[in-house]
């Protein structure tokens, strides 16, 4: 399944869409940095193919339970499966891309 999808990606380079959810807690430096970084990556690699939801746990603490969020900030890739969680302020671009399974454009 994975292989076929990767194969499809290799050929088409575009699995359907990414559903991303960023959990933050208020306006801490890490949260702000994470949001900024994420926006940058998305605009660079996933133009038009993603949906981003920012959830502020200070406003909605009950939502932490659903995705089992412990670390802040956490980026959750809900779609495509499997769910991946990336914790940290997303400053390490390589890791973020690998974690989200985004192939940087230009390299096949």
């Amino acid at each position: 399944m994975m292989d076929s999808r990767e194969a499809a990606a290799a050929t088409s380079d575009t699995p359907d869409t990414w559903e991303l959810r960023l959990y933050v807690a208020g306006q801490t430096t890490k949260s702000v940095a994470a949001l900024a970084n994420l926006k940058r990556y998305c605009e660079e690699y996933l133009v038009g193919r993603y949906t981003l939801e920012v959830i502020d746990l200070l406003q909605n603490p009950q939502l932490a339970e659903g995705d089992q969020i412990l670390a802040i900030p956490t980026l959750v890739r809900k779609v495509p499966e499997p769910i991946r969680k990336i914790i940290g302020d997303l400053s390490n671009e390589e890791k973020v891309l690998v974690g989200l399974d985004i192939r940087p454009r230009g390299t096949h």
């Binding site: 603490p61 089992q68 412990l70 969680k85 914790i87 690998v98």
Partner: protein, 577 residues
């Protein structure tokens, strides 16, 4: 000069949160520190989770304090199923908003670290859970799971430290469970962060018997029991068994209860034992210890009191049957509900389980007397010092409740060497009766003697007794030339005494006759002498008379011759004849 001393009344007691767990509140002298985290560590299967859950549940049920359970390992349904057998209905409590169970699932493979982060999410979740029901008690089980999920230990540790500080600021009493480490209290070194109270649970296997022990390693700001206390996980939950009367402060009674054997009562000046004391009966095999115990039980029932009989060797039916043959009918007592016989093999359970069973039955049944027959095979379950410790607690418990307790113990060896009793059980009891085999020539007799009786004077004799159809009968004391004698020697002694008596009587009779004879002989002799004397007297008198007559004759003749002479001179002469 200002003396920096607080007045005693101003010294605040460290506020404590009572756990509601049997025995733990006693050891901690009030409970866990209020508003502070407590660390509970132990190896696998010690019951850490259970301790935490019971802390929460009792908080809800007994003290109306809602609680939050944050579990990192088991899910909420698993936990609920696990504790359902203890009667804790977690689902219902959650429905009533008294309990909140949060399952935190950490999947290492899902997580990718990319930069700086903190664990604010955890704080938010926990904060939300606490605030949503106004919880006062929290349990984190087990926070070490975070270490497997988040590789950055530095961040983790600083966050954990922050978490505990945060919990303190929140004012909730927290229990944190952790796995025991090799050489350290916890595997991940959590004891550095939780320093207010640390409880260590231990699960030891000694001689194939598992014993669980609890120890309070540290309790800042309060005195506490520092020893290892055995604990059990029973059907009602966690149960710690401290020595109940650590202070020996129980009340005593002056009432006397009978032993059930009249002769035995007589051996005590008070005609029995004090109520609420403990009595130990030791003896070698076959010395009627159980019969004595049964007599005591029967007597208690006759007084209308309840008696609880723990039989570790015979089944109730066998006991009743055997006692019936000696005239002790226990069946009516059982039917009336005055006597309850609990039988089990001591090897069935550990010592602590026995103690808990005894506690439970006594609390349920409320007897005034308890018999444990025998205690010696408890040694097969534990070491002597453990048995002694258990018996100390048992005897204390019974004393505090003013229950008269009778124990029987088997001693081994012909020379009376005792293992369990000499080691120290005898110093725990108030009265010690020894039943011995008195081996005579070709026979064995049974005698009992009182070795000690605290608080009253008693006979020092070894009284022989028989087990008859009417129960135990003490025989009268027979004193022979070498002291008290027993058994068939009694008969010989009696015969001997009889013979001696008869001999004496005969001797007296003989002497009487001797005297009589002598008297007769004397009288006869006197008679003889008298007769002799009379005949001699007669003779002498005759001789005297003859002499007298002759003398008179001679006188007359002489006188007549003289007269004749005168006549011749003046007349014819006469030739003198």
């Amino acid at each position: 000069m200002h003396e920096y001393k607080l007045a005693p009344t101003a010294l605040p007691q460290l506020p404590k949160a009572p756990t509601g767990i049997e025995g733990l509140d006693e050891i901690t002298e009030g409970g866990l520190p209020l508003g502070r985290p407590t660390l509970v560590c132990g190896s696998a299967g010690c019951g850490k989770t259970l301790l935490g859950i019971e802390f929460l549940v009792r908080g809800i049920i007994d003290y109306n304090e809602p609680g939050v359970l944050m579990t990192f390992e088991e899910t909420a349904t698993e936990l609920a199923a696990n504790v359902a057998s203890l009667g804790f209905d977690l689902q219902a409590m959650q429905a009533d908003k008294k309990l909140r169970v949060d399952h935190v699932h950490i999947e290492r493979s899902e997580i990718e670290e990319t930069g700086e982060y903190d664990l604010e999410g955890l704080f938010i979740r926990l904060g939300y859970a606490i605030d949503s029901i106004g919880a006062k008690r929290v349990m984190l089980d087990t926070i070490e799971a975070l270490f497997s999920g988040f590789p950055n230990e530095a961040v983790l540790r600083s966050e954990i430290r922050r978490l505990f500080r945060w919990l303190k600021d929140k004012g909730v009493t927290t229990i944190i469970t952790a796995e025991r480490g090799e050489g350290t209290l916890t595997r991940q070194g959590l004891e550095e962060y939780v320093s207010d109270c640390v409880i260590l649970l231990d699960n030891r296997v000694i001689d194939q018997i598992t014993t669980r022990r609890l120890r309070i390693v540290k309790y800042r700001g309060s005195t506490h029991g520092t020893n290892e206390y055995p604990y059990l996980i029973t059907e009602d939950g966690f149960s710690v068994l401290p020595v109940t009367s650590l202070k020996l402060e129980h009340q005593v009674s002056n009432e006397i209860v009978s032993s059930g054997v009249p002769g035995l009562d007589e051996m005590f000046t008070q005609r029995g034992w004090y109520k609420g004391t403990s009595i130990l009966i030791t003896g070698t095999a076959g010395t009627a210890k159980t019969t004595l115990a049964a007599s005591f039980a029967l007597e208690a029932c006759r007084r209308g009191e309840r008696c609880l009989y723990f039989a570790f060797e015979e089944s109730p039916a066998q006991l009743i049957r055997n006692m019936r043959t000696v005239g002790l009918d226990l069946q009516p007592c059982v039917d009336q509900g005055l006597l309850r016989i609990e039988a089990s093999r001591p090897t069935l359970n550990g010592l602590e389980r026995h103690l808990v069973t005894v506690h439970k039955l006594i609390s349920e049944y409320q007897p005034q007397s308890v018999v444990i027959d025998p205690i010696s095979n408890l040694v097969s379950v534990g070491s002597i010092s453990e048995v002694r410790s258990m018996l100390t607690r048992l005897i204390d418990f019974l004393k505090v409740n003013n229950i008269t307790a009778l124990f029987t113990a088997l001693i081994s060896g012909a020379n009376g060497r005792m293992e369990i009793t000499e080691e120290g059980v005898s110093s725990l009891v108030d009265t010690w009766i020894s039943v011995r085999d008195l081996e005579g020539i070709g026979e064995r007799n049974r005698g009992l003697s009182i070795l000690k009786a605290r608080g009253m004077a008693h006979s020092n004799q070894v009284r022989e007794f028989l087990v008859t159809e009417h129960g135990i009968q003490l025989l009268d004391v027979v004193i022979g030339p070498l002291g008290i004698i027993t058994g068939a020697s009694r008969l010989t002694q009696r015969i001997q005494e009889q013979a001696v008596l008869t001999a004496q009587q005969q001797e007296i009779a003989r002497k009487d006759r001797e005297l009589e004879r002598k008297r007769r002989v004397l009288e006869a002799t006197i008679e003889n002498l008298r007769t002799e004397f009379e005949s001699v007297e007669e003779e002498l008198r005759q001789v005297n008379d003859e002499e007298h007559a002759r003398q008179q004759e001679m006188e007359r003749a002489r006188h007549s011759a003289a007269t004749n002479l005168n006549n011749r001179l003046s007349g014819p002469t006469q030739r003198p004849a």
